[in-house]
Amino acid sequence: MTRPDTTETQQSVRLTIDGAPVEVRPGATLLEACRQMGTDVPTLCYLETLTPVNVCRICVVEVERNRTLVPACSRIAEENMVVKTDSERVRHSRKMILEFLGSSVDLSAAEDEVEDWMRQYQAEPDRYGPQSAPSAAGERDRRHPGHHGEVNGRTAEGVHQPTKVDNTLYVRDYSRCILCYKCVEACGIDAQGTYAIAVAGRGFDARISTEMDLPLGDGACVFCGNCIGVCPTGALMFRSEWELRQAEMWDPDAQEVTRTVCSYCGVGCNLELHTQDNRIVKVTSPQDHDVTSGHLCIKGRFGYDYVQNLGDVDRSSIDEVLAKARRPAPE
């Protein structure tokens, strides 16, 4: 059994990463150590503001005298550790993980780095065969653990399914879900304390779910949108963004981001208003903002309609689309 050599009294921990010595604060993770020396380590399920769940495993690195690779995002640096972040083994595991995700999940709206990593690690998600047909709405939510249907290997099974559109504020497209647990953490212990969603089911059928797969509005959700803020793949999306994407009008290049302070209460949350054609299409908060850590409440996140209540004047095509987002269910 290996145990950290670090003691409380120690000032710093010295280790070697890719051949270079580095000194970090006691308790620092390998990820922190890597970042400190400017070494890139990809992460998907890690976020500074959330407790590491270390489930995506994209951040694995090789540590001497460890039988397996270790997750950099949660492994604490130990004195004299010898770490390799770009060995053959590391590259292989990262490539396979990217292929596993790319062959089972729709990553087209994921953070930009994902595509870069796909190239960097020469991932070929297509080599597992064509994607399996999407499952019917709600079918994955009813799967019982312990057995599954016939497998013929002609297609690569994925998590594709229809988007859950059950409210006017945001949609859940679990075809894009990599099960990074970030939304669960943001909704629960790490930020919101609401516990409206959790992981349900088991194995490949595991999914993010409300109790009994209820529509969001019927469960505990308070629509703070914090889950949207942390989702790395676009599985959780403002209804406005989703409607614009459906209409093929979503255009990040044409968007402006304006930083402002939320005017609903005196806390002083910073908001980033994303506007396209002078219409607010989504609201975020900077993750490094010390008041919010990126988290907001329903008012700051979704209560922007009043600033753009245009009445009948000046309605353009974007307003037609955004109007759809105010209907409980899509037509």
Binding site: G146, V184, V199, E211
Partner: protein, 603 residues
């Protein structure tokens, strides 16, 4: 923080079932329910934990067994009583294959179609049931190995409001489910244990099997029971740990880790609250040895746990047993009850210290045998393994230092205390000391649990089990279970010791020896193994959650039209699963497959 519940209410029967576990709704329950202001949170990463959260699984299990399924009303009642967020309780309930969140008929058969049973007629049995049609009163589901491979084919029967049971040696010609849904257990025996060696004088772990009455403490005492505990009390905790160290005892649950290292770490911990766990989840396909000990000598398990608790300074022990072992569960519960009444368990026992045991039933999840998943399962969380470090000896159950050992590992402690660690170490080989149980199944004349001293060869064990039936030739052996590897008859001379196995690059695992003859369809068996891992992965980490699916798909292609690319692909997936997965399930999921492909068993 306010928890929000739906308005669904339990039926009277559901309420009664829940309250039988949680106690009647208390006076403060309303308050606790609405605001959860008294919700004590201790960080576990991502879930909220109230101080009674650990009762979640027992409550779900009781509703399942009394009512036959867990309705929204029952779930909400449990959530209100325990201050558990409904979404999390839903996440837990849907994790286990024995819990149904959909309306279910009162009788559900879980028919084993795993490696041994499917070769012993389970598939024909299921076909027959299918053509019989499904009835409103009963249904059946395929099940992974039920730990009855020596009496295949087997089925586990859940009955709402009645005792569940296991049917073994089912004649595939019979229809255990009558057209009216009744279960005809005509030839399915239910509670005989086949231990072919029973009564032989050299036995140590199995010596009481068939000679004591498993239901009677007096019978156990007459056979010398509880003398080891008496001696352990005289020796004191440190001396017991020293004897275990001298004995060289290594874990029998699969990882072969020296027991004393864990014991010493916890015994020396500055933390005062410590736990002992007996891992009785026994779900590795082909494994049924712990069942024999628990069914036929339950008091020895309880006594061994008590000694271990004394040695490491734990006042509370947990015995986590797989749900599909109803007979062992009943006997252990009775043994715990009798031991408590006799003052051998509980607050300040007659032996002058306090130790008690809580029995917890798993609900159908192989992964809950992994030690940290098991701890999460007890705590009322999803049975997802934790990342290590920290190790359980530092931060285990409820975040406290914890020793977890396999049933067989613990049972060895009785002789170690009685005869001394050195005496124990003088049997077996230097690296593999003491006796070992092996589970023989498949193509052998007398399948069963066999005890040998470490050092016996694979050939010796197959001979003990009567060799292969007339006209059958040994083609391959699956050693160590689905997480183990296939070997060819050229290894018959290999001693089954930890050192010889590791030299050969294989693992003894949990002691599985599954023999296959020349008529075996290995493609079918490999497909079942691949399906097993896909079904049983917790799904937490990407390499294992998706890797197990991709392996199964690649194997399906190989079976149809072998291409070198697919074998290569399985190797690549295996490498990533071994390197990047969180736990042993992912690390071992493709090993058996790869060994079979490398040995050419598919050709």
């Amino acid at each position: 923080m306010d928890l929000r519940f739906t308005d669904a209410q339990p039926t009277a029967a559901e309420r009664e079932a829940v309250d039988s576990v949680l106690g009647p709704a208390g006076v403060d329950s309303h308050q606790r329910v609405r605001t959860a202001s008294n919700l004590r949170i201790f960080a576990t990463g991502m879930q909220s934990v109230s101080d009674r959260r650990h009762l979640l699984l027992p409550a779900l299990e009781t509703v399942q067994s009394e009512i036959g399924w867990v309705s929204e009303g029952a779930l909400m009642h449990i959530c209100r009583e325990l201050s558990v967020p409904p979404a999390e309780a839903w996440g837990v309930a849907t994790f286990y294959s024995l819990i149904s969140v959909d309306p279910s008929p009162p009788v559900v058969l879980h028919i084993c179609d795993d490696i041994v049973c499917r070769r012993a007629g389970a598939l024909e049995l299921m076909e027959g049931l299918e053509s019989n049609g499904r009835t409103p009163d009963a249904r059946w589901l395929p099940s992974p190995c039920l730990g009855q491979c020596d009496r295949a084919p087997a089925a586990y029967v859940q009955r709402a409001g009645e005792d569940d049971e296991v049917l073994v040696s089912i004649n595939p010609e019979t229809r255990p489910m009558g057209p009216d849904g009744s279960i005809l257990s005509t030839n399915g025996q239910t509670d005989t244990v086949a231990v072919p060696q029973a009564g032989e004088p050299h036995l140590r772990l199995l010596r009481r099997v068939g000679t004591v009455d498993p239901g009677s403490l007096d019978s156990y005492l007459e056979a010398g029971g509880y003398r080891a505990l008496e001696k352990a009390v005289e020796m004191g905790p440190a001396a017991v740990v020293a004897e275990v160290k001298a004995s060289g005892l290594r874990g029998r649950g699969g990882a072969a880790f020296p027991a004393w290292i864990k014991w010493e770490a916890v015994a020396n911990s500055p933390e005062q609250v410590r736990y002992l766990i007996c891992n009785a989840d026994e779900s590795e396909p082909g494994t049924f040895k712990d069942r024999v000990l628990m069914e036929d000598d339950p008091f020895s398990v309880i006594e061994a746990m008590t000694i271990s608790g004394l040695a490491v300074g734990a006042r509370q022990g947990y015995l986590y047993i797989r749900g599909e072992y109803p007979l062992a569960t009943r006997r252990l519960r009775s043994a715990i009850h009798q031991a408590r009444r006799a003052g051998l368990l509980g607050e300040s026992t007659t032996r002058g210290f306090s130790f008690d045991i809580d029995l917890r039933r798993g609900q159908g999840a192989y992964i809950c045998g992994e030690e940290t998943a098991l701890m999460n399962s007890i705590e009322g969380l999803r049975g997802e393994p934790r990342n290590k470090p920290p190790f359980p000896t530092d931060s285990g159950l409820f975040g406290k230092p914890t020793v977890i050992n396999n049933v067989e590992t613990l049972c060895n402690v009785l002789d170690i205390v009685t005869d001394g660690g050195n005496s124990f170490a003088s049997s077996g080989t230097p690296q593999s000391t003491g006796p070992k149980l092996f589970c023989l199944s498949g193509s052998v004349r007398r399948p069963g649990t066999y005890e040998v001293e470490f050092g016996a060869t694979l050939g010796d064990l197959i001979a003990l089990a009567g060799g292969l039936p007339e006209g059958r030739r040994l083609r391959a052996v699956l050693l160590g279970g689905a997480a183990g590897s296939f070997v060819l008859p050229d290894l018959l001379e290999m001693p089954l010791t930890f050192e010889a196995a590791s030299e050969a690059g294989i693992s003894l695992g949990s002691g599985v020896i599954m023999a296959f003859d020349q008529h075996t369809d290995f493609g079918d068996i490999l497909a079942r193994i691949a399906a097993f891992f896909r079904d049983e992965t917790c799904g937490q980490c990407v390499p294992c959650r998706v890797g197990t699916v991709r392996v199964e798909e690649a194997l399906a292609r190989i079976r149809r039209d072998p291409q070198p690319g697919d074998s290569k692909l399985i190797e690549e997936i295996d490498l990533a699963m071994r390197d990047a997965s969180i736990c042993g399930l992912g690390h071992t999921a493709a090993i058996a497959l790869r060994s079979a492909l490398e040995l050419g068993l598919l050709e």
